[in-house]
Each structure stands twice: as structure tokens, then as C-alpha cells.
């Protein structure tokens, strides 16, 4: 709610709510747009028809825009994560294992094998 609402009735206006939609149980909430509304309840009610009158979904979040803290698009360094070697974080950093297993006449276990086992 805007700070001015109680003090100055002439400058009252709706707040902006950003809208996030989850489409299926294993999906994430994804940003889809924004609405202006008098309250979070009304924001939810109108968001449903403003964004989901054709598509299906299972959850809507509305978040007051002023509550979003964002990074800067210009500061690309903020997102640098591979400027130096980070292969120790990845599967690809451990290609030797397979060769060594071969020497022991065994095959390396992959995550896919274990997932397949779990589903059996």
C-alpha cells in the first residue's frame, strides 16, 4: 500500500502487484506480468482473469512491486561464475573415473542408472 493513502486521499491510487504463475506441481512460479489493485486479495482475483483466462495453472502469487529487490542488468560481473576453472563442481570434471573403473573391469555408475533403479 502506498504511504500516501492515509494522509492524502486526493493522491490515492492502486498499488502495482507483480504476478507469478505456477503451471504444474513440479513447475516453478514464473513471472507473467503485473496488475494494479487495491489489495492483495483483489490483485489475486483480477490476476486470474487478466493472465489465465486461456491457460491453466495451479497457483498464483502476487507480490507488491515495491517488495521486489532486483539486480542490475548492467552489472554483468555479478553473474560471472566461470571466469576461472570451476570444473571441480561439474560431472565433466571427473571424466577420469570412468577410465579407472574400466581398469577394474567395472562400469562407472551414472545418475541415470540410479534414477532408473528408483523407478523400477
Amino acid at each position: 500500500m502506498a504511504d500516501n493513502k492515509e494522509n492524502d486521499p486526493e493522491s490515492q491510487h492502486y498499488d502495482v502487484y507483480e504476478v507469478f504463475v505456477q503451471r504444474d506441481p513440479l513447475g516453478y512460479h514464473t513471472h507473467i506480468g503485473s496488475v494494479v489493485a487495491a489489495s492483495s486479495e483483489m490483485a489475486q482475483i483480477v490476476a486470474r482473469e487478466n493472465f489465465l483466462r486461456r491457460d491453466t495453472a495451479i497457483s498464483i502469487w502476487v507480490v507488491r512491486q515495491t517488495n521486489i529487490h532486483e539486480t542490475s542488468y548492467e552489472d554483468t560481473d555479478f553473474f560471472v561464475n566461470r571466469a576461472t576453472d570451476k570444473s571441480y563442481r561439474d560431472v565433466a570434471g571427473y571424466v577420469d573415473n570412468a577410465k579407472k573403473w574400466k581398469a577394474f573391469k567395472e562400469r562407472a555408475i551414472t545418475i541415470d542408472d540410479l534414477v532408473r533403479d528408483a523407478k523400477r
Partner: protein, 263 residues
């Protein structure tokens, strides 16, 4: 056609009562859907314009559903039933044909109607007429949003006090006069109940409605008033005001130029 009939014990009397009831449902939805659609481009804010438009689409789509059930019963073709019947053959509640006046009236009427819809639909789920029970299941899911929407608006306009509550109060005062036939089942009530087509009496309908509406009046800070028992017009018997004549005049303006043409 035969398919639809097999689900109900079809003596002529029951079938007539069923058709009567389906007309009440269809005509209710048509009148209120048409009134709602008049808000297009005129709602208090753009977001609400979009939301409210969905509700008018739903109501009109429900009327099409009920007219199609009538078509399956051999009563007439759906669009003809919607377009060609004069006012004195319409079975909608007088409340739903009234012009929308202002936003407070629209919300108050919408809330009153949506509570009624929920009760009717809950009963229809147990109808011995299977197509109605099956339709009710789908329609009820859409109506839940309508009720949430109307109830939220109704309570908040009241909670705000001032002009909004005053307008809401005036709206309630005006629509209260038109309430009685909302609970009427016209000439069909007894047979509908006995045959199980609608396992619900007028008295139950009125009581349940009152129980469900009352708490929102309290939340909205509005005084409760007792329900009027009769009004000068019962829409279920084809008695209507000038508002319906005007509504239908507009509704069928293009259709009437050539009812057999494909549009």
C-alpha cells in the same frame, strides 16, 4: 434426443416441469449475462473490466448450455429459444433483467444471484435428470470464482463506509423488492421435487440463501432486513417489467432482421 430422455422418469408432467425449470435457469443466465456485458469498457478499472467480462461470458455460456438441454428435449433450437421468445414467455427472475444502475447495485445483485446459483447447483448435482447433474458439476466450478469475486467486492465496498456503503445500502433496498421470484420455481416446484429433478423446495432455497448471505451483510456493515414474501411480478410466470422488453429488443435486433440466415 432419446438419449437425454432416458435419464428421467418421463411422464409428460415431469417433462414439462423439467422444461419449465431449464427455461428458468437459461433465462436467468441470459438476462444477467446480458446486463453484465453492458459493463464492457466501463468497469471501475481495467483489471476489473477483464475479470468481470469473464463472468458475463460464463453466465451467457451457461444459458447456452441450458438452452441446448432444452433443444435435446425437443423444446426448440437453442438460439431460437434465446432470441425469439417474447418477454411474456421468459422465465427469468425480475431481479436479473433490471438495468445495472451503478457498480454497487451490480455487485449486490451479483452476490445475491451467485449465492442462489450455488444452492441451486448443489441441489442439481443430485438431480435424477442426469444431463442437469453433469452440467451442474462443471458449472459449479466456474461459479465458485463468481461468488468469491462478488463476495469480496460486496464486503469491501461495505467495509469502506462512506459513499460506497451508502450506495450499497441503496442497491440492497432497491433489489430487495425484486427478490421474491428469485426463490420461486413457478408452476414446476412440486413436480420437480417429487420427481427428484430438483431435490430442493422453495422454502429450503430461501432459508439456505438467507443463512449464506447474512454473514456478508455483517462484514459489510449493512443492517439485515427480512425477506419480502411477494412482489407484484413473478418472472417465473412470465410477468416482467419494461426492462426485459427493452433488453430483448436490443438482444434480438440483428437476429430479427433474418432469423433463418446464418450469421
Amino acid at each position: 434426443m432419446d438419449d437425454a430422455r432416458t435419464h428421467v422418469a418421463v411422464d409428460a408432467q415431469t417433462e414439462q416441469a423439467l422444461a419449465e425449470y431449464l427455461l428458468q435457469l437459461a433465462d436467468d443466465e441470459l438476462a444477467v449475462g446480458q446486463r453484465y456485458a453492458e459493463w464492457l469498457g466501463l468497469a471501475p478499472d481495467l483489471e476489473e473490466d477483464v475479470a468481470f467480462s469473464s463472468i458475463s461470458q460464463d453466465e451467457l455460456a451457461h444459458s447456452l448450455f441450458y438452452y441446448t438441454l432444452l433443444e435435446n428435449l425437443g423444446v426448440g433450437c437453442a438460439d431460437e429459444l434465446a432470441y425469439a421468445r417474447p418477454a411474456n414467455e421468459r422465465r427469468n427472475s425480475v431481479l436479473l433483467e433490471q438495468p445495472s444502475k451503478d457498480w454497487a447495485y451490480t455487485i449486490a445483485r451479483g452476490f445475491c444471484f451467485d449465492v442462489l446459483e450455488q444452492i441451486r447447483l448443489a441441489a442439481a448435482l443430485r438431480s435424477t435428470y442426469l444431463p442437469l447433474a453433469q452440467g451442474a458439476q462443471k458449472i459449479q466450478r466456474e461459479e465458485r470464482y463468481h461468488l468469491l469475486h462478488m463476495q469480496t467486492w460486496f464486503e469491501r465496498l461495505g467495509m469502506a463506509g462512506g459513499e460506497a456503503r451508502q450506495r450499497l445500502n441503496e442497491a440492497v433496498e432497491s433489489l430487495w423488492l425484486d427478490l421474491p421470484d428469485l426463490f420461486s420455481l413457478g408452476t414446476a416446484g412440486n413436480i420437480l421435487f417429487k420427481s427428484g429433478v430438483l431435490p430442493l423446495t422453495e422454502a429450503e432455497l430461501r432459508q439456505t440463501w438467507e443463512q449464506q448471505v447474512k454473514p456478508s451483510f455483517a462484514h459489510a456493515g449493512l443492517a439485515w432486513r427480512s425477506l419480502p414474501t411477494r412482489s407484484d411480478k413473478n418472472g417465473r410466470l412470465g410477468q416482467h417489467g419494461a426492462a426485459l422488453v427493452e433488453l430483448l429488443q436490443t438482444f434480438a435486433e440483428v437476429y430479427r432482421t433474418n432469423p433463418v440466415a446464418v450469421w
